[in-house]
């Protein structure tokens, strides 16, 4: 398994509320962190959404997973190559 691409994102809903000091304070809610990991392997594997999954150093809930065969490619002479893309939601709002 070779990781080819990693993309991380984190967001939260924000709202502004008045404060007794007279300033407006930002409140953040519903934090969400996500990491998208792309890797390639020479073995076909079952993909499952909604379960906990670990790819490399990242563990999270699979929100989306795709697997695609790259028929023209071989890895170290072994083929075919499969490319997996996992979108993992990571609890805690940070990844």
């Amino acid at each position: 398994m070779h990781i080819h691409d990693i993309s991380k994102s984190a967001d939260a809903e924000t709202e502004l509320l008045p404060d007794i000091t007279g300033t407006i304070i930002i409140y953040a809610g519903a934090p969400k962190a996500q990491v998208d990991v792309t890797y390639r392997d020479t073995h076909e594997a079952t993909i499952t959404a909604g379960s906990t999954h670990t790819v490399g150093a990242y563990t999270g809930i699979v929100s989306k997973a795709t697997a695609k065969i790259l028929a023209k490619l071989k890895e170290a002479g072994v083929g075919p190559v499969w490319e997996f893309v996992y979108s993992l939601l990571v609890p805690g709002g940070s990844v």
Binding site: L17, D19, I20, T21, Y27
Partner: protein, 428 residues
């Protein structure tokens, strides 16, 4: 207009829009002489927790004190999606949002019933009477019905006579009854008008204090309203609503002008008279009863000479009925409302005043118009000022600024009365 409107909320911040020391997220306050108590609902951020029920807290809108409120209900709201927040980057916790139902300051005292628990065993049941009623009806003169007659007949002894006599509180004016009730419940009051009408006998036992005081004020055609400081303002509809143009918001964004038909157009107050002093010639039915004077077994005692040109009604109560009407084209087709007073004695003047109080309210509400606009600069407007019947103020945090608006309902006409008819009937 839009630009001016947009300028207004800039002065409103969490520091000057608050309930006590809690920043307001929203406030809806309704003040009206039409209802017994002003009410408000508010949502605040309360880091120190909700105020306790029954606590009196003041609201500030744009830095202006808009009065005290009693906490009727304060509920802490925990809602994962709405309140689980990180404040300015701090660790996540629930935003301490509290939702309040509020009533005007003085609510607890005004709503309390005049019960034995409240006023004390010695003073219960509370009974008020005039000096004339005490002398002529309760005590009597030994010949007419009364305690002295019972004493002479041996039905009671002196101790019992004193006990029964002292169970009454003798007053000269109606405001003295108001004063006593307010003392019992811990209210303060302010007379904007005199209260010349006074029933000869009255017992407010087990009535809410406000109900009793409204009843007493109605004897003089007046009513009452709890002001921003919980002071009971006793006002006359004529005095408070002059027909002049009511106050309006700085910028009127919306208005409705009404002139409704009166319903009812006439009010009849019926009751009984006893212990009522009649000035002038002998009442019409004096002759039939005259033969029985001195011997109440022969005829019910009705009118007894009291002094030069005065007669007092004792013994059997006399029916009393007074009808008062408003002026207007619809009054040619009367819609009559009947108010029956059974608990105490009335007279024609008092009955007419009660009818006028009811009709004045009808007249004012039929001529009520409404103006809406920005609230800032209008915080000091409240009912009874500048012909205002009701004020509703709305303060809402929009996400980036406060939106503050108010509705003013004002009376555009002064109550005027048409025909007043009254008649006396005897029980014969």
């Amino acid at each position: 207009m839009t630009q001016r409107w947009a300028q207004y909320p800039r002065n409103l911040t969490g520091a000057n829009c608050k309930l006590g020391d809690q920043t307001l997220i929203s406030l809806l306050a309704t003040e009206s002489v039409d209802s017994d108590y002003d009410t408000a609902s508010a949502i605040t951020i309360a880091p120190g927790g909700p105020f306790q029920k029954g606590q009196t807290i003041r609201t500030y809108e744009g830095g202006v004190d808009t009065g005290g409120w009693v906490v009727e209900d304060g509920s802490r709201e925990l809602d994962g999606s709405r309140t689980w927040r990180s404040k300015a980057g701090a660790p996540f916790t629930n935003v301490p949002m509290v939702s309040y139902k509020l009533r005007r300051q003085g609510y607890l005292a005004a709503r309390s019933t005049l019960s034995e628990t409240r006023i004390g065993q010695g003073a219960y049941p509370p009974q008020f009477c005039t000096a004339d009623y005490m002398r002529d009806t309760i005590l009597g003169d030994g010949a007419t019905p009364g305690l002295r007659k019972d004493l002479a007949d041996g039905k009671i002894d002196n101790a019992e006579l004193y006990k029964r006599q002292s169970s009454w509180i003798v007053v000269q004016f109606a405001w003295q009854i108001v004063q006593k009730i307010c003392t019992w419940v811990g209210l303060t009051f302010n007379l904007q008008v005199d209260l010349p009408g006074c029933a000869t006998n009255y017992s407010p036992a087990d009535k809410p204090a406000l109900t009793a005081i409204k009843e007493i004020a109605a004897w003089s055609g007046a009513s009452c309203w709890l002001d921003h400081n919980g002071v009971l303002q006793i006002f006359g509809w004529d005095q408070a609503f002059t027909g002049a143009c009511p106050a309006r918001p700085g910028y009127v964004l919306q208005s409705e002008t009404h002139q409704n038909l009166f319903s009812p157009t006439h009010v009849t107050v019926v009751g009984t008279m006893q212990g009522v002093v009649w000035w002038g010639g002998a009442p019409a039915h004096w002759a039939y009863d005259h033969s029985g004077y001195g011997d109440p077994r022969l005829k019910p005692m009705v009118w007894v000479p009291k002094g030069p040109g005065q007669w007092v009604n004792v013994g059997t109560p006399e029916p009393c009925s007074v009808t008062v009407g408003l002026q207007g084209p619809e009054c040619a087709y009367p819609v009559n409302e009947r108010i029956q007073i059974r608990e105490y004695n009335i007279n024609q003047i008092l009955a007419a005043n009660v009818a006028k109080e009811r009709l004045a309210y009808v007249h004012i509400m039929a001529n009520a118009s409404k103006w809406s606009g920005p609230g800032e600069g209008c915080q000091n407007l409240h009912p009874l000022t500048q012909n205002i019947i009701a004020v509703t103020r709305r303060l809402d945090w929009t996400g980036t600024y406060y939106k503050y608006s108010l509705d003013i309902t004002g009376a555009t006409a002064r109550p005027t009365f048409g025909d007043t008819s009254d008649w006396w009937t005897t029980t014969q």
